[in-house]
Structures are given as structure tokens and as C-alpha cells.
Symmetry: C2
Subunit: 424 residues, 2 copies
């Protein structure tokens, strides 16, 4: 069996790790619409060509483009303090000179409703503790319009993270059509908790928020695609990938440079081992996952006629920590087959098959009937780094990362090499 060869090859190769370092250090963060991202894509395509992958190419996609500009937040009362902050993606700017206003701290949307008569002309801070990402991120998505509804001038959130070292987290936010648009930014968990305590002690809190953020016209970006063609059924495709855009802070190392390079390396490794599965392995690095999802929609549309021959789509977008296995969304019959395959991952302790594999870039494919998987990792630190300046290359452990490569490679290879198609 080839799986132990694949594991050995993955674990004894530092190419992926060095490429991830180069990607992170050379291009920096890769927000949609930035030249960093496009330069990174050029480099990836040229490297894929050196790897001998088939037809490395960029498929053009127009992406929304948001520019942070300068920004700052200062506590004015009860004492002076400059606060770490990050504007949220899609937010408007403050007026020139900023917004200086009293602050009302609320711990939840319910508490905002209770205090709705107190927030007019003020800045609302949502000091919501992290529970799950899905739950807590609602304050990032909807905080601004919720506060604007009651007349707030601006809104802030306690950063959506599970732990902090004075670390603000950015991320995308949205505006309701029916509400005035107000600036929306994240402060650190530490400062949010402190302001909560100050309010509890009856202190009057005044903040001065300055943001130059703006959205400009859509710009061109690309999904990067490259293949290892199948030997028997080349028109049948197993997709594996990640999203190559990141936020405009840190280096987008765990989110999701690592996932992209792991998928790419998985296919490179299979090729280098002289393996050619019956079906085609296609690396897809989607653009604009973070603030628009245009990449995955464009991929679905451009490849719509092929989707009936998409056997499986695998995304890694949860950090490249120790892999535990895969989440899966598809038929019970296919799940049983994948569970069998996953036993090959026992040597790296990554053999669990969990329910639910709809990661952001593959969910549109799943909507069209494609079975989907997402790499699941030991994620206890993922939301320490997510969307922060601390999501940097040094946070990636080469052994953990290489195990991700091995897990992706084995799962994709075996599914692509079966005699029969994975049933839908």
C-alpha cells in the first residue's frame, strides 16, 4: 500500500514548510484587491509550473476591495490610553477628525435592546464573551446595524477570539440596508473587559475613534488551479484546496496560507512519488473567501458543467495544526467508504470522520450535489491567531503541518484511485 510511503514522504520533506515561509514573508498579508495577493498568485503559478503540475493558471474573478487606511482609538475618559484596535472589513470611515463620544457597554444584543434609549449619539461596545465562533461572530457581522438602529454613532466589538495578548481581531462585517451605516471596529478582549469593569463601577467612558476605511471599485483577482491528470478517468475530478486570500494583518499563515500550501504539496508529493491516480487531482486556491466569497462562486459557475464529475471536494481552512481527520457531508454510503479509507490515517492519528464538511469555498459545490470534506485539526489555538497580526509563519509547526499534507494527500489520492466513483 502507498499510504505509508505518502506519510513518510510528507514527514521528511521541508519544501511545503519553506514555501509557506516564503509566501508569508515575501508577500505579507493577502487581502482581496491587494497587490500582495496578486504577486503571491503569480509566484504560486510559476512554482506550480516548476513542479510539473498540469496547466497552472489563474481564473479571473472580480473581488470587492476594502482598504483599511489609518485608524486609531483613544480612551479619553476616565483616563487617557491609546488602544489597540482593528477596523472591521467593509466598515465605513469615521468623519474626518473622528467620533468622540460616550460609550455604552452591552454584553449581548438583548442587553442592547434593554438599553436602546441610552445609546443615541453614543458608541456602543458589544462586550460579548467568546462562546463559539458561529455565535460570537454575530456581533461582528451585525453589531453596527443593530447599534445604528437605536441611534448609535459607531460600534465596537470585543474581538472574536478565544484568548488574547492585547490582540485585536479583524474580519468581515455587513450593513443592513434599512439602517444608517456607522463605523464598526474591534478592540482587544482586555480593553473590552476593562471598559465593562469601568462601566460597572459607574465611570463615564469617552472614546475617540478615527477610521479612514473605504470600499473602492471591485478589482481583478484569480482562483489558482493546477492538476495532476487521472490515468483512467481524467474527466473525473477530486478537488483539494484552500483560500489564498487573507485579512490584511499578520501573514495569513494558518488562515489559510497553510491550507493552500498543504493541498498543493499533497498533489506535488503524489506526483513525485510516481503515483498517478485513476482520476484527476485538482488543486484549487480560491480567492476572496474572507470578504465576499467571489472565488468560490466563480469556480462553481466556471466549472458548472464539470460538477457532475466532481467526485469529492476537500478544503483545509481551520489552521494547519495536528490533523484529527475530516468532516464530511455526503451520502451514508460514501461516508462508509471514506471511513474505511480514513484507517490509513491511523499512523498519524488523523483517522476520525466527523459530521459536516461544508467549508466556505466548497459549500456551493455541495449545493450542486458534490460530496465535500474539510480537514479537521486540533484547533484549540486557532482562534488565538485568527484574523490577527499574530497569524504568522512561526506559529506553524513543521511536523503538524506535514501531517496535514499527509492526510490531504492520502484521502485525495485514494478517493481518486478507486475503481468506482465515490457514490453520491
Amino acid at each position: 500500500m502507498d499510504s505509508q510511503n505518502i506519510i513518510n514522504a510528507a514527514m521528511n520533506d521541508s519544501t511545503a514548510y519553506e514555501r509557506l515561509a516564503y509566501l508569508c514573508d515575501t508577500f505579507g498579508p493577502r487581502l482581496s484587491g491587494s497587490s500582495n495577493l496578486e504577486k503571491a498568485l503569480d509566484w504560486i503559478i510559476s512554482e506550480m509550473r516548476l513542479d510539473g503540475l498540469k496547466m497552472p493558471r489563474g481564473e479571473r474573478v472580480q473581488v470587492p476591495t476594502w482598504i483599511r487606511g489609518n485608524e486609531s482609538l483613544d480612551l479619553i475618559l476616565p483616563f487617557k490610553k491609546s488602544m489597540a484596535m482593528l477596523g472591521l472589513g467593509g466598515s465605513i470611515a469615521t468623519p474626518k477628525g473622528g467620533i468622540k463620544a460616550e460609550v455604552v457597554v452591552v454584553n449581548s444584543f438583548d442587553e442592547l435592546d434593554e438599553k436602546q434609549n441610552d445609546v443615541r449619539g453614543k458608541i456602543v461596545l458589544f462586550n460579548a464573551p467568546f462562546t463559539t465562533y458561529g455565535e460570537t461572530v454575530q456581533y461582528r457581522y451585525k453589531g453596527a446595524s443593530s447599534a445604528a438602529r437605536y441611534g448609535a454613532l459607531a460600534s465596537l466589538i470585543r474581538s472574536v477570539g478565544s484568548w488574547s495578548m492585547n490582540t485585536p481581531h479583524t474580519g468581515v462585517m455587513t450593513y443592513d440596508r434599512d439602517q444608517p451605516k456607522i463605523p464598526h471596529a474591534a478592540i482587544t478582549m482586555e480593553d473590552a473587559m476593562m471598559l465593562g469593569r469601568l462601566q460597572e463601577r459607574g465611570e463615564k467612558i469617552v472614546l475617540h475613534l478615527r477610521m479612514e476605511a473605504r470600499s473602492v471599485a471591485d478589482r481583478w483577482s484569480r482562483n489558482v488551479i493546477a492538476e495532476l491528470p487521472g490515468s483512467e478517468f481524467p474527466e473525473e475530478i477530486v478537488v483539494l484546496g484552500g483560500h489564498i486570500d487573507s485579512w490584511d494583518v499578520g501573514q495569513g499563515a494558518h488562515d489559510d496560507g497553510g491550507g493552500c500550501v498543504a493541498a498543493w504539496q499533497a498533489v506535488k508529493l503524489i506526483k513525485e512519488l510516481g503515483l498517478q491516480p485513476k482520476r484527476t487531482l485538482r488543486v484549487v486556491l480560491w480567492t476572496n473567501e474572507e470578504n465576499g466569497g467571489r472565488g468560490n462562486k466563480n469556480y462553481r459557475d466556471e466549472h458548472f458543467d464539470e460538477l457532475k464529475n466532481h467526485i469529492l471536494a476537500i478544503e483545509s481552512d481551520g489552521g494547519v495544526f495536528n490533523p484529527r481527520g475530516f468532516g464530511f457531508t455526503g451520502s451514508d454510503e460514501s461516508r462508509d467508504i471514506l471511513t474505511d479509507i480514513s484507517r490509513l490515517l491511523l499512523p498519524i492519528d488523523a483517522n476520525a470522520i466527523f459530521k459536516g464538511g461544508r467549508a466556505a469555498d466548497i459549500a456551493p459545490l455541495n449545493d450542486e450535489g458534490v460530496p465535500v470534506m474539510s480537514l479537521k485539526v486540533e484547533g484549540s489555538k486557532y482562534f488565538w491567531y485568527h484574523h490577527t497580526n499574530a497569524d504568522t509563519f512561526d506559529k506553524v509547526d513543521i511536523m503538524e503541518f506535514n501531517r496535514c499534507v499527509a492526510a490531504m494527500a492520502i484521502m485525495a489520492y485514494v478517493v481518486a484511485d478507486m475503481d468506482d466513483r465515490l457514490p453520491r
Copy 2:
């Protein structure tokens, strides 16, 4: 025996925790010479008076005063990036407009010596990995003069910390008399490692450093002192305390607000329990530990005649994490007695007696013959926070903190209440 009462009382009281919150949130960081520090001292003295401690007072001390001013660091080549940084305490400013120069990365003083002909007119970055604090901090202390010796225009260090989330660490630095003074600052571990990688790849690195730091004339500060008088030998004194100054970032919560409040609370608790040991318990909160040590020298000098009656001096300055026991410097005979006493701390798992108790503020007392102890805690995260913006109140766990209070209270009380003096 009273020790279980003391433990119970400590563990069921949130006064110290709330006072630490108030200290941190209301006054902010407390650098020597700052009004923050002096306001904090006023508040502490007034609260100690409410506690009924004897003669809470400030003993005036002149302290060196360093002011950070504005500062920034930008990577210019090979790409643009604004870098988190902190000037080091005592550093001079850059010229107006800053220093823009090529960077030479070295991993050690030895490597600097090897590259001595390459650094003239450049910025030296010491990218030394953290080993022990005592070893790695040498780059902070001596980096500037070492680099200046070979003609460097400025020097930077990889922050002295054991782990980072894009977290620069400040701290005191010194200049050799014989070398030109050059600006000296800390960058994050992440950025230092990245610059190291860029240099390895042969990239030319250019940085633009701007610092307005300056030292001004000494200002007045105070050591805060308060007592619970002994019932039989009031002239015999057991000192317990911490240093109340901090760096000018974060809130100085673990370093060393927590240690100060723990020592203070220990004495308050003993008083509230109606206990009065035979000897006097004296809380001492030293000023200016961080950048001068004037507080501890002043205490030694002001109380020189009393030192022969200083039975024991205990400092807590390693963070208020779970206590493990105490380090001790003194005679074997007294160590045996203290080891017996430490059994009382078994219920909170803080009963170890380690070698070496010379913390910064009590070392001058030890030099005069006073036995000294320092609280030892589970310190694996201490150098995550030390001298950073992340040293904030929220990093203190109330249960761990209260165990520190209990350990300090029991050790100080029992030593103060023995029939015989602790032998020297």
C-alpha cells in the same frame, strides 16, 4: 492551628482581586516618575488606612524618569510593513526624522563580533532566542553599546519573552560609558524571526526607526509602608511586599501589582481574623524596581538601624500564578525551620522550599544579613506577559491569586509568631 483558617479566609475573599482590578483599571501602568504611579500610591495609602493598618505612609525616594514619547518602526525593504515595537527603558531618541538604515541580523554577541566589519552605519538586530531570562536579557541590557562599539547607528532586540502574539516587550537597558549612545528598542519575536529568514534568503533589509524617548530630571516617588504591630516584640519585623512601579505598558498586573496586593492582603487578612503575631508584620511596596532600584536602596538606608531586627523579608515578584512555595536565602538552621512551616501550605500545594530567595528589592537587605524569601509560582506563562501590553488584570485568576495571598500570609504570620527569632 490557624493556617487552615487563613487559607479559607483567603480563598473566600474577593477584596484583593477587586482591589487589583481597581488599581490596574484606574491608574493604568505605573512607571517611575509618572503621575499614574503617584496617584496609585495615594489610593493605596488611603485604603490601607481604611483597613486599620498602622501608619500607612510613603517614604520619599527620588527616581530616574524616562519618557517613551512617540515611536515607530517601519520595514522599508524588501517590502513595506509597520512593525510593533517598544523602545527600551533608558534609551535615547533617534534624531528627528528617525534613522533609516540597512539591517544586519545576528543571533548572538559572538556573531556580532564575527560580523563587526559589516555593521558600521547600520542597524543591528539581535535575534537571540529565549533561553533563560538571565541569559537572554543581556541583549536588552548590553545590546546597544555592543553594537555601537562597531559603529552601528541603532540596535534592536528580539523581545525577551518565551512566546509571542505579536507582542513586543520593553524593559531597562544600559549604556557603557565608553561607547557612543545609540537608540535601542525591542521588536516582536515574530518580526525578528522573519527578518532573520529574510537575511538568510539574501534579501536586503532596510528599517526606519523613530523614537522620541528621553530621560528627564529625577522625580519624587515613594515606598509605601504599613504595619500590623507585634504583640510581644514589636521592634522585630517580618517584611512582606512587592514593587509597585511597573513598565509604562499594559497594567503591571502580574509584574508586580499582584505581588503588592497579595502582600498587603495577607496582612489585612491576618488582622481581620483577629490574629496578632508576636512580631510586627510590615508591608513594603517598593518603588522603582524596574529602572533603577532606588526604592529598595532607599528602604535599606532609611531603615538601616532596624535591619538587625529584620527577621525575614519576603517578596513576591514572579507573577501571581499558582504558588509552589518559596525560594530562600539564609542559614541552614533557618531553612529547616521554614521547611517545617511550609508543610502548612500543603493544602494549597505550595509547600516547596527552593534554594535562592534574593529578589531584586530584598537582595540589599540580604546583603546586610537579613534572611530573604521570594514567592515561587507556576511561572510557565510569566514571560508571555512580562513588560508587555498583555500584562493586564484579566490574566490574573482569582483562585491562583488567593492561593498566593494564603501562602504569603501563613509564611509571614508563622515566622512572626514563633517564640524564638528565626536564626540568622
